[in-house]
């Protein structure tokens, strides 16, 4: 008797959490899936259009551009992972000032994308601070944010700059868990420092590398909105439009909920696999 009522109480304890994610995330996901097969009828209602929205996507140049931009962004991922790893190794090796660097590197990561985007907008725009500085030494101004060729590069650079410190922290935490007996044993066997890094420490770091790679990928796919919103607004044209920003544009300015939902579904499918890997790593670590 007591047993049963306790089980009910336990379920009630989990209920608020389940209700929150159920109502605001799971249910909208199903609804969005259904919406993606509809289109507005112009009077506030919607009509079933089958896979029309998805068919339209195949010929929508803005959508294509957003995929190409995503591909460009993903191509830079090795830098997002290897640069922090290198910095973490150097700090771990006891570079002078390392402790201070570690603390300062992740400072931009705690600032809002809006704050960072606004500051860099002031610095990078055509009549901005950097061009004024270049002008004073006789270098011609570059339209960092206004030209298709440099806008994406600027966006990526600012995003990388503002988050690399986080990966440094994660790598440092990982490095501190590598067993010192293992390193000592290798040293006694006559291994050189470089060999120890390559054959002992990096293999032990594999789970951390996996984690950083997955989390960074998810990050660049889903947390660039704030930066795009204030830094480039997706432009010029579509040159810095990523799928998440396109969804925002479609649902807001053009009022096409069905179409926006279809893009959402494509993003969801792309993300789901990655998120699955992340969840597996996290639940492995929680139970281990």
């Amino acid at each position: 008797m007591a047993r049963r009522s306790e089980q009910t109480t336990a379920l009630l304890f989990v209920l608020p959490a389940i209700a929150m994610v159920g109502i605001f995330r799971m249910f909208p996901l199903v609804w969005g899936f259904l919406l993606s097969f509809t289109s507005g009828d112009g009077q506030g209602g919607s009509v079933w259009v089958g896979i029309d929205n998805y068919r339209q996507l195949t010929t929508d140049t803005a959508f294509h551009d957003s995929l190409i931009n995503t591909a460009i962004l993903l191509a830079t991922l090795p830098v997002w992972v290897m640069l922090p790893l290198l910095l973490a190794i150097l700090i771990h090796q006891g570079v002078p000032g390392g402790k201070l660097f570690r603390a300062v590197y992740f400072f931009p990561a705690v600032l809002s994308a809006v704050i960072i985007g606004s500051i860099f907008n002031v610095l990078l725009r055509y009549d901005g601070t950097i061009n004024a500085a270049l002008g004073s030494v006789g270098i011609e101004a570059v339209d960092w944010l206004g030209s298709g060729t440099t806008a994406m590069a600027s966006l990526i650079a600012v995003a990388l700059w503002s988050t690399f410190g986080m990966s440094v922290l994660i790598f440092m935490a990982g490095l501190s868990t590598v067993s010192s007996e293992l390193i000592e044993a290798a040293r006694l066997d006559g291994a050189k420092p470089a060999q120890i890094w390559w054959h002992v420490i990096l293999p032990a770091m594999r789970p951390i590398l996996e984690f950083v790679a997955v989390v960074t990928t998810i990050g660049v796919l889903t947390s660039m909105f704030g930066l795009i919103y204030v830094l480039t607004a997706g432009g010029p044209g579509t040159s810095t439009t990523l799928p998440e920003f396109l969804i925002w544009m479609e649902q807001g300015k053009m009022n096409r909920p069905g179409y926006a939902s279809a893009i959402s579904m494509v993003l969801f499918v792309g993300m789901a696999g990655l998120a699955y890997v992340q969840i597996r790593i996290m639940s492995r670590n929680a139970n281990g």
Binding site: A17, P28, L87, F107, S112, L169, M265
Partner: protein, 267 residues
């Protein structure tokens, strides 16, 4: 050899703090002073821009909205996640494992993926343009990680504690409130700080839910559009909006570091 790498690393570190200096320095200039001298240290500092940003550009109001919403969401997040974490880690009941996975699985659904239907759900529940709606939205989107962390944290505590309290006739609710909440303090502190950052810094969910009253980040984004030519005023606004976060960073670095590293490394 050490100095060869230390110099570029120091420059990188400098670049991480320079924007803050740049912002505060220019916020203290007037517009003419900024245009004539963009990099130099301010000559005759004035707080007029801060006064204008606070009043004329409504940042005072926006800051108040952000404080209310962030506090509300963080309290709600901590209560729901520690309650769920306690049950998931220490109690035995049907579907325990499944429910844990379901909560974690919702990490797969970022807000962008449900933008339209999420907005409509909020609309249907009458939560659009209410601070309470934004509090619920933040709770829903930041909750899975909190539940994950609290469950992991409570799993490491001895279960005998609960048994002993139960022998003394305490109800589960009493055990949660009197034992689990105080015991969970380190994890709750970490989560409280991290989620303060997330809620304060958010712009997408806030743009969607609060369309009349703005939170401070939405306000800054708008300010950037309205005062494009008045950089010092914009800088003052940015400094006001970033100040609480910079204080958190200075006082709670340890907790932030712990919170970021958890999940990657067995804690």
């Amino acid at each position: 050899m050490h100095w060869v790498v230390a110099v570029p690393m120091a420059l990188l570190a400098l670049s991480c703090v320079y924007p803050v200096f740049f912002t505060v320095n220019n916020a203290l200039k007037d517009n003419k002073g900024y245009i004539l001298n963009r990099f130099g240290i301010v000559q005759d500092p004035s707080v007029q821009n801060f006064v204008d940003a606070w009043g004329r550009a409504h940042l005072g109001e926006y800051l108040f909205n952000s404080v209310t919403v962030t506090l509300g969401a963080v309290v709600l997040l901590l209560l729901t996640s520690s309650l769920a974490g306690f049950a998931l880690a220490m109690l035995r009941f049907p579907f325990r494992r499944v429910l844990f996975i379901v909560i974690l699985a919702s990490l797969m659904i970022p807000v962008q993926v449900v933008l339209v239907p999420f907005y409509r759900t909020m609309m249907g529940l009458g939560l659009i343009n209410t601070r309470f709606g934004l509090i619920l939205a933040y709770t829903a989107f930041f909750l899975p990680f909190c539940v994950y962390l609290m469950t992991a944290f409570y799993s490491r505590l001895p279960r005998e504690m609960v048994e002993a309290a139960r022998m003394d006739g305490a109800t589960l609710l009493q055990i949660w409130w009197n034992i689990m909440l105080p015991m969970g303090r380190p994890a709750l502190l970490t989560l409280g700080i991290l989620n303060t950052l997330y809620c304060w810094n958010d712009v997408l969910i806030s743009l969607l839910v609060l369309q009349k009253e703005r939170t401070v980040m939405v306000g800054i984004a708008a300010l950037r559009g309205e005062y494009t030519t008045n950089v010092p005023l914009l800088c003052a606004g940015i400094a006001l909006a970033a100040a609480p976060i910079i204080l958190l960073y200075i006082f709670f670095q340890r907790q932030i570091v712990d919170g970021i590293a958890v999940g990657a490394v067995k804690g």
